[in-house]
């Protein structure tokens, strides 16, 4: 059970949060221009890395804000947390 440092609320228990999958996958601005394959790439394809992974998290039972997390999935170490729209910090 992680302790997650919400950028808006501070350190809280993991049970207040919801994981939201891989981060930095931007919804295409013009979906209709995309081929089936390109759309499928956005829609279905996600990485499942052992090691450094960029993830979205939501403080679902707190401030309801979404933010990004860099997590090492091999040992669950949270490397960094940063707000939506911000560039990932170098780690």
């Amino acid at each position: 059970m992680f302790v997650i440092n919400c950028p808006y609320c501070g350190e809280r228990d993991q049970q207040e949060f919801k994981a939201g999958g891989e981060a930095h996958i931007e919804r295409p601005k013009q979906p209709t221009e995309l081929s089936d394959d390109e759309w499928a790439e956005y829609l279905f394809m996600r990485k499942n890395i052992k090691g450094i992974q960029y993830e979205r998290w939501n403080h679902a039972h707190g401030c309801r804000k979404w933010f990004n997390m860099i997590r090492d999935t091999s040992n669950d170490e949270i490397k960094a947390i940063y707000k939506m729209g911000e560039k990932p910090p170098s780690i």
Binding site: F2, G20, L34
Partner: protein
């Protein structure tokens, strides 16, 4: 028949309080402070159970939570019965009953014991090899296996006890209150760290507290005396909380630990009542100090499992702590010095020690000299090759070991005895350490796994990190604490420590016998009856991974999780396969370290607290009217209102007719309500719904369909424009929270530029939905000054009004096809509103209806229910709702997916109506639909999603999803059931009032 093997009075046992208890039906006596094991041993009872596979007689082996054999059922046939309790842990109390497990009809005469003689037929992987074939026989095998196995019985009545959870946040958590843990906790607390010290035993002090070796001295005092003073001082320290009888079950990441505090298991029945039995501590610690100690290892030799064969350290604890002799003629068998301490301690108390058998060539320590001086014979370089005594050890045969330790030579020496203390060295208890994610390293010299790569904020101290001698323990502890706690000095920095040195070491994982391995029974895992032979067989059959060998041989898979035998299993695999133990790794230590009761895990969340229920403000009225309820998400919704013993069918038929003939009223408070405000609110709705929203006038309502990005229907509901930049969205009852979450996600991450704010107002409003041809008249009575004409207040529009001084929002919308008004008031007025409607509607036979009637009425109109007629694979096109998908809008969630090749297939499952040829036959929801009965295999076209008998049409109606159904209008299909085939015809899904005349009638 009872014998007394008490040897001396013990300061840890209250000999003034005699306690009677029953074991396997016989009454015995012990003292307050005894464990079941120590009390049984005091009565010279060793035989306590049968092994799992061979049903071999087994005795008490240890004095702690690692016990593999003495697993008992406490208070059998009562509502407090508990299986799989270790006799070595459970404290006796007046009137306690316990019985052996896994033996039938009794521990002394066990039918399953025949397996012992069949054991050549029961090799490793026996269950996999034999019972898996042929597959169709598994059910018969399972019965046989379960009947003969039976590890205890679970209680059959409700648990009478109370359980609790507690969250604890501390600066420093110390696990284990041996000498290391006590000093660590004391120094942490003294330096202003909020400290919690836990120990699974009922006494502090670990094994040091009953230490009586004159050579182990701190500041010239015997270590136990010195430690007692330290424990005494703990009482006066602030910031320190101590919990005994508390065992840490799990150590998760980020220093989150779960511990079970045992509060009443040691109390008499009358003192258990109305008290919390066990409490689960959920601990978040800033720093964790593991002082979990070490477990003594047995040794693996032929017939090493007879009752009377015990760990050397256990024999010492029983005599020094409980004042009990484990036998009258004891032999020790060892590969290290610790057995010498046990032998001396026993000898001092007048317990006869026959001999010490040592596999080493020599020891040359002070201890050895003292043992010889005590007149105890030492057999150097000898090993036990066999033991005898079926239900109790009576003889041990020893022979000389060869130089390489792989064979025996010389004459066999036979020594009679009734107890054998085995000392195979010490294994650090690193279970919790590895659970935390930290990594181990193998110490080739000590033949142990020790902590290597820590996560931060954690240290291991004392024997759990491989320090076994008092001087090295305390020296290393001092340095580690200073570093870990950021302090300059500890309060034990200047003590002087003296102890015996251990010089000689020898380790043989599998000891040889004069017989071939195939003819011997050297047990590695006692509880699961896995022998060294089984492990070698697994290797011969090609298993290499330790995880695979473990599962194939079931080594380490019992309730003790292989606490005793895992190292030997690893050692034997390494030796046989010719690899280094460090390279082999260990199996994963999984939580819980010791078993937890379900009660502890569940805590207070039982009965009505098992799950959260949400109830509407009108709930009391529904209850008074004896409504039946159904669960919808977390909500308790009125399902139907039976009158005078009506069946559900009768009630629903009556309610449905009344709603169409005069008036009905539904509690719709559970629908999700989201308040949407902001200058981009219209644009936002354009993006999340499939239809267009910009042109919706203020005070108008519109039905919307929400998709997932994959194009599948996600939710639906009516949204009302309350103002220029203000909307009220309704969602399905079950989908409310998820819809809000999804909308927030898009707003925050994809469209942060939109000026939109979302607020859940589900709980803030109560909603009564009036429907039927007389609904307008009823509403008129309640709000006389509101103009309800179709011109002023048309279908799909909204008015704000007042009932007295209470503001209400009224939407004229319909889910039934009748004229309907949804009246929303502040939740606290919900029941008053409802009662007012009922009162005003009395002359019109207003009929409250529940969710079942609501479902029926909407099915008559062909309206879908998301989640019932859809299942996450239905697009709006599949639902024949093309009309709601805007062709003009450039984009909305899921739009692009509607043009994927797969979603555009013509032969997707599509929503249709079904009419049975016999109008009285009602289909079963979920029934499969086929077009050809004689095709093999049968081709499934789809299934029935909603089905009712419509009282308003006087016939059976159904909605279904059918492959290519859109083009099947009028086609005959078949629904094969168990006992008959039902003929149906595909129809328009709108069965009733297809032209919507009733909405404005």
């Amino acid at each position: 028949m009872s014998e007394n093997l008490r040897v001396k009075s013990s300061q840890y046992i209250d000999e003034t309080t005699r306690v009677s208890f029953k074991f396997n039906g016989t009454t015995y006596y012990g003292f307050k402070g005894d464990t079941l094991a120590s009390a049984l041993l005091a009565n010279n009872v060793h035989l306590v159970g049968r092994s799992f596979k061979y049903h071999r007689p087994r005795g008490i082996m240890t004095s702690g939570s690692e016990e593999p054999n003495a697993i008992v059922q406490i208070n059998p046939n009562t509502n407090r019965t508990e299986p799989n309790v270790r006799a070595t842990e459970v404290e006796i109390y007046e009137g306690m009953e316990a019985s052996s497990q896994n033996c039938w009809p009794s521990v002394n005469f066990d039918i399953g014991g025949i397996n012992n003689f069949l054991s050549p037929l029961l090799p490793a992987g026996f269950y996999y090899k034999t019972f898996m074939w042929p597959a169709s026989f598994w059910e018969k095998y399972e019965y046989f296996i379960r009947h003969s196995a039976g590890l205890g019985k679970s209680p059959t009545s409700n648990d009478p006890d109370i359980y609790d959870h507690r969250n604890i946040h501390c600066d420093v958590l110390v696990v284990g209150a041996g000498i290391s843990g006590i000093l660590a906790a004391k120094n942490a607390a003294k330096n202003n760290y909020k400290t919690l010290l836990l120990d699974e035993k009922n006494e502090l002090g670990g094994s040091t507290i009953y230490e009586n070796n004159e050579s182990n001295k701190i500041d010239n005092k015997i270590s136990s005396e010195w430690l007692k003073k330290e424990i005494e001082e703990l009482k006066n320290i602030k910031n320190l909380e101590i919990k005994t009888r508390t065992s840490v079950a799990a150590y998760h990441q980020y220093n989150y630990l779960l511990a079970r505090e045992n509060l009443t298991d040691h109390l008499e029945k009358k003192d258990k009542i109305n008290k919390i039995r066990q409490r689960l501590l959920k601990i978040r610690a800033k720093r964790v100090i593991l002082a979990t100690g070490a477990l003594e290892r047995p040794m693996v030799f032929n017939n090493n499992d007879r009752p009377g064969i015990m760990l050397s350290s256990a024999i010492k604890k029983y005599s020094d702590f409980y004042g009990v002799a484990c036998g009258r003629k004891i032999i020790f068998f060892t590969n290290n010095d610790s057995a010498y301490e046990s032998a001396l301690s026993l000898n001092d108390k007048g317990i006869k020690v026959e001999a010490v058998v040592d596999i080493r060539k020599q020891s040359e320590t002070n201890l050895e000299k003292r043992v010889i001086d005590a007149g105890i014979k030492i057999y150097w370089e000898h090993t036990v090759v066999n033991t005898s005594g079926y239900k109790r050890l009576n003889n041990v045969s020893i022979m000389k070991l060869s130089n390489d330790g792989t064979s025996v030579t010389g004459n066999k020496i036979s020594i009679s005895c009734d107890c054998l203390g085995v000392a195979g060295g010490w294994t650090p208890a690193v279970h919790l350490y590895t659970q935390s994610g930290s990594k181990l390293a193998f110490d080739e010299d000590k033949k142990i796994f020790i902590p290597n790569k820590n996560n931060s904020d954690q240290i291991s101290v004392g024997s759990c990190c491989g320090d076994f001698k008092l001087d090295e323990i305390l020296k290393n502890l001092n340095e580690k604490l200073k570093d870990f706690l950021d302090i300059n000095k500890t309060d034990f920095e200047n003590i002087t420590v003296k102890n015996d040195e251990e010089i000689s070491k020898r380790n043989i994982w599998l000891l040889p016998s004069d017989k071939a391995l195939g003819k011997t029974k050297p047990f590695v895992d006692y509880q699961n009856d896995a022998t060294a032979k089984d492990i070698k067989l697994a290797l011969r059959e090609g298993f290499r991974s330790i995880e695979h060998v473990k599962r194939y041989t079931t080594t380490g898979m019992g309730t003790d999780q292989g606490k005793l035998g895992n190292m030997h299993a690893l050692g034997i695999i390494a030796d046989t396969a010719g690899v280094k133990m460090g390279e082999l790794g260990t199996t994963t230590f999984r939580p819980p370290y010791t078993p937890l009761t379900f009660g502890t895990i569940v805590g207070r969340n039982v009965g009505k607290f098992f799950d959260i229920f949400r109830r509407t403000p009108m709930n009391d009225w529904h209850v008074e009217q004896k409504a039946e309820f159904e669960n919808v998400g977390q909500w308790k919704r009125a399902w139907y209102y039976p009158i005078d013993g009506e069946t559900m069918h009768q009630a629903v038929q009556r309610e449905s007719k009344a709603a169409r003939e005069s008036s009905g009223i539904l509690d719709a408070s559970t629908l999700g309500k989201i308040d949407i405000q902001g200058s981009d609110a219209s644009e936002f709705l354009n993006r999340v719904y499939t239809n267009a929203w910009s042109k919706l006038g203020i005070g108008k309502c519109r039905y919307g369909l929400m998709l997932n990005e994959d194009g599948m229907v996600y939710d639906d509901g009516v949204t009302t424009r309350l103002g220029e930049n203000h909307y009220l969205m309704t969602t399905t009852t079950g989908g409310a929270a998820n819809v809000l979450g999804k909308l927030e996600d898009y707003l925050q991450t994809e469209w942060p530029e939109l000026d939109v704010y979302l607020t859940s107002v589900t709980d803030q409003f109560a909603t009564a939905s009036l429907c039927g041809p007389n609904s307008k008249k009823i509403l008129k009575k309640i709000i006389p000054d509101l103009d309800l004409s179709d011109e002023n207040f048309p279908h799909m529009s909204f008015k704000e009004a007042k009932i007295g001084s209470i503001v209400c929002r009224i939407m004229r919308i319909s889910f039934t096809g009748e004229q309907s008004f949804e009246i929303n008031v502040q939740a606290s007025y919900g029941k008053a509103l409802w009662e007012k409607c009922i009162e005003a509607g009395r002359e019109f036979n207003i009929t409250p209806y529940g969710t079942e009637t609501m479902h029926l009425l909407r099915a008559e109109k062909g309206f879908i229910i998301v989640g019932q007629d859809t299942d996450g694979t239905m697009t709006p096109i599949d639902l024949q709702m093309d009309w709601i998908v805007s062709k003009k809008k450039y984009d909305f969630i899921g739009k692009r997916s509607l043009y994927r090749s797969d979603t555009m297939r013509e032969d997707r499952k599509q929503l249709v109506g079904l009419l049975t040829d016999d109008p009285k036959v009602v289909l079963e929801e979920g029934a499969q639909i086929v077009s050809e009965l004689n095709k093999n295999p049968v081709e499934m076209l789809g299934h029935v999603t909603s089905s009712y008998f419509s009282p308003n049409l006087n016939k059976s109606i159904a909605l279904a999803v059918v492959r290519g159904g859109k083009d099947m209008m009028g086609k005959k299909l078949f629904i094969p059931m168990e006992d008959k085939t039902i003929n149906v015809t595909v129809s328009n899904p709108v069965f009733f009032d297809q032209t919507n005349e009733r909405l404005n009638a």
